[in-house]
Symmetry: C4
Subunit: 229 residues, 4 copies
């Protein structure tokens, strides 16, 4: 396969994905950033440029960085959170990472922040998460404190990924969602699935004042299906 062709196709898919997330209101303004793995050896990651308007994301605002986050192709500064993307790509062997700021994920990251995470349980939509084959699944979404020290943030995210090896996403408190997948398609599916579950949970919280669905149980050690935290 022609490598430049692959690069162009992947970059265009990344642009279309980012614009679609903005359209749904999940990456308003310059919020959110998106990446996709071009090659693994050596690691080359496509990632959106820092500070660009996601509703007007263009092909030339997609850069290629190496495993240290240095720009290899394209001009401009990659997203400040490139180091978080790289951490997730390495630890989860992800092919794509999407970071969104939705109203519901922001609201829940605050409401459940002190509990250290949010439990999503008992809903069929959970089966949209890779490897989940039943609604009778407890998905623990860890909530990591926000910081402007991105090295610190990446280390915190890395620890959360180790503590919750089966988590499909994590929330930064007051900040947004990180989710990932084998490729951009799977990562986008995970965004839609998690945002749907957040909206159901958030609306039930608004209606009842409680953060859990009626039948949800308290997870052992508050660690969900993957044990301790």
């Amino acid at each position: 396969m022609d490598k430049d062709l692959t690069l162009d196709t992947l970059a265009e898919t990344l642009v279309a994905t980012g614009r679609g997330l903005h359209e749904r209101g999940w990456a308003l303004g310059t919020s959110g950033n998106f990446s996709a793995v071009l090659t693994r050896n050596p690691l080359r990651l496509l990632i959106s440029r820092s500070g660009v308007d996601k509703g007007e994301l263009t092909r030339d605002q997609v850069l290629v960085v190496d495993e240290a986050g240095e720009v290899v192709i394209g001009s401009g500064k990659p997203s400040d959170e490139t180091v978080v993307h790289l951490t997730i790509v390495r630890q989860r062997e992800a092919g794509a990472v999407l970071h969104t700021h939705s109203v519901w994920n922001t609201l829940l990251s605050e409401a459940a922040g002190d509990a250290g995470g949010l439990l999503l349980e008992g809903l069929e939509m959970l089966k949209g998460l890779s490897g989940v084959t039943t609604h009778d699944h407890a998905e623990w979404v860890p909530i990591v404190e926000n910081t402007q020290d991105y090295g610190h943030m990446a280390a915190d995210v890395g620890r959360a990924l180790i503590a919750h090896p089966r988590a499909h996403g994590l929330l930064l408190r007051g900040h947004g969602l990180y989710t990932w997948g084998r490729d951009l398609r799977e990562a986008k599916r995970h965004v839609e699935v998690l945002e749907f579950l957040f909206e159901v949970t958030g609306r039930l919280y608004a209606a009842t004042g409680r953060l859990r669905a009626p039948r949800q149980s308290v997870p052992a050690g508050a660690g969900g299906d993957d044990g301790g935290r």
Copy 2:
């Protein structure tokens, strides 16, 4: 009429319907599945392939299955819930079946789950349901417990259809809506009508903490307009 032409037209309508439902947020990710009857003797049903992204549903992801759910035209696995579609097609003589996962139908299926169903009553929008000629109509939407055993699910759905012969739709708890119609147009209308009624009911529930509209009465035997359950 040219049968292949019919197949193509119907498949394209199914694809457009599915994408429209995704656009409204009622079939995010890979959730939802959609079917339409091509011929009745022998029964040939068009149905969406298992696990496909409904926002990117394409013509070749629509398969044709027979009365046993075996693929007759197309490649890939049909939706896991094909057996539920076939049950509805047979028992309701439906020409199309649509299954959606919306935020409001998920939320209400949990909130009203223990009551075994949800009563929609007194609203003009009810007249959008086939055969309903007045707002003074009590529509009981049965709620069936969710399961990953699809034969079991189909049997439960079949029993609910018999117990509630006048119901226009049913909810799977924590899972979503099944509705149907003479053809895809009518089924799509039923989705829009029921989703509207769910949103009104859900927002009133959020505002008042009660699941019924102010003037709604408790149905005799909790069975709505079609008697016992």
Copy 3:
């Protein structure tokens, strides 16, 4: 001006307006109906056909009726509520009438139904209503009980129009909004303005349990700015 050209242009504007209202979720399924005056002497009214899907409204689903509601041009049955449209056209000298079913107008027509109307007051958006020049305006939206007897409904609506000569719209309980304007553009603006005010009022009701904004006063005789009821 070529009269057929006028008819075609007006019908196309009516179709575009109707589809736009469906797109916003204000006329889901077959709900809603829309009309525009073609000529006044004799009265010729364009109106959408009964029972058509508003998301797929087409040019040939727009009929022309006379002052008695009889079809003059086109085939099929005009909307059942044609008599209500004709009443509004006559009493308000309206050039266009739009009838929508939104979630918020349905919810408020129930929540405020026993009060006989809803007061919208103190918001700048009120200036979008024809003739209103200040936010310091009290708009009383009368709520009329719903019925399937359309002659009865038209008479009730006629009485409400007389009782509230300055009202820009009215709600049918559990049913929807009727608003109107000099032409389709003004009527559409009134839909957007009233739906906005309904959503603000409905969300404040959900948040506070009260139907009025903090600074709203009780209208004298509950009749708003136009005196008694």
Copy 4:
């Protein structure tokens, strides 16, 4: 650069921006008005014509006014609030000013009106505001009483801008948001960022009855990050 070309390009961007804001439901009906600086010496400001439907905004509905608000190019009356736009352009050296009426900004301007302003704090999305580099930022959005005396309104807005030199936007009570930026792109980003923060704050208010996020502190003198009021 060809000046007419600049004018046309800027006017088209203004039209596209306005239509986009209408599409999101932030400038329904004829609400909202939008401006952009063409030249500074002498001051020439593009601004939308008074009373036009923002969903159908066209190139010829964009006028050019001078520093006194007199029309220099185009026909028709400029927005009544032109004097407010001019005040902001002068005091903030803004290149563009956008004024929107959203459901959430209207609701919050009422709910927080008596407090004289709304505090937005601790959320990552704040970094979408120009010059803000950390989520640990307290943005005080002043709320100015509404009036139909536009000279009075402009003076009140001018005083609020002086009292809160670091504010990125302000609310008119029961009326809407004014925000601005170096250019139309930045102003549009500020609308998206502030509307997002309003929606999060409004939904938390609906869920909890409190206007502040859990971790928000009371600002010294209720003046947020810019001191006294």
